[in-house]
Symmetry: C2
Subunit: 161 residues, 2 copies
DNA sequence: CTGCGTGCAAAAACTTTGCAACAAT
DNA sequence: ATTGTTGCAAAGTTTTTGCACGCAG
């Protein structure tokens, strides 16, 4: 992988990413390429939920010749390997988020301004597990999103302009 | 509204829908039209999560001259008025689900066979509200999806073919 | 009458894909 | 060498929009 260092990842996490990816690609005869490595590097340095277009923008700073198509293909790869989660927040765009490097969390989304707040709640997680067990499910992942108005937008709606 | 009667809705619920919609449209100078009424009728008779294309198909049985564009516009209206929820299950299609007529529920989705199980859990709902309050959010809707393997698929994976 | 709504077709937005050149093993 | 990968552009999907006509209030 490239030489840039992430601010948000520990060396151990970087290592886990590389290991998982190597194994995933090895198992199905996929090859490691310059472009893939760059995209993966860049993506895990970013912190948040990013569209392909956004990742592409950042990738092109390092290598302007990489095409969007390759970013699409690579992000799909990351999602399939479990290293990233694909999310849909309701604008018509898939956003990707690292599945490693921070604890599991859920999202509060403001439907007016688009702000996304992350939160964790162990109690909810436990209840989710309980529900799954009750239905005989073996849960591998989940997502939970609360939609509404953030505080500033509540005010804006009450006292227009 | 048209004369067809829903199997899954009580008269009281039908009434609530009509009232909510009338108010929503009245407040912003929107008009009630033949097409809108038909689409709303048809949608609330259906039970499940439907794409615009699917609703359109059903609408055209009653009136083949209604355009997709109108269905898109009407479903958006229903979502904005709170009568329907827009969902994204990861295929690139928005699906709509009635927000009235059954209690709120969430989804357990089997990633192997695609089975969707619905469940409710009041305790989780309460915790969600608490989280939102803590962040100053005024929540209007939420969704929660648990992904994993249903019981039959767990067995299938353990003892292949 | 005065807009809002509708259908149609064109366009937009996002994503996937075919193909010839290219690179990794 | 062999096979997977890339960039490009074309094509696919899903959703939105401009416009002239029609209909509701």
């Amino acid at each position: 992988m490239g030489g840039s260092v992430s601010v948000t990842m520990t060396p151990a996490q970087r290592n886990e990413i590389e290991k998982t990816l190597d194994r995933y690609m090895g198992e199905r005869g996929l090859k490691s390429t310059r472009q893939r490595s760059l995209i993966v590097d860049v993506f895990f340095e970013m912190d948040g939920h990013f569209s392909v277009e956004e990742v592409w923008g950042r990738v092109r700073q390092d290598n302007p010749r990489v095409s969007v198509a390759t970013v699409y293909r690579t992000m799909k790869l990351l999602a399939e390997s479990g290293l990233a989660h694909a999310r849909n927040f309701g604008d018509g765009q898939t956003r990707y988020e690292a599945a490693i490097g921070k604890d599991h969390h859920d999202h509060l989304i403001c439907t007016r301004c688009g702000t996304i707040i992350e939160f964790e709640n162990d109690q909810i997680e436990r209840l989710q597990d309980a529900v799954a067990r009750k239905h005989g499910f073996q849960v591998t992942s989940h997502k939970m999103e609360l939609y509404g108005l953030c505080r500033p937008c509540q005010r804006a709606v009450e006292q227009p302009a």
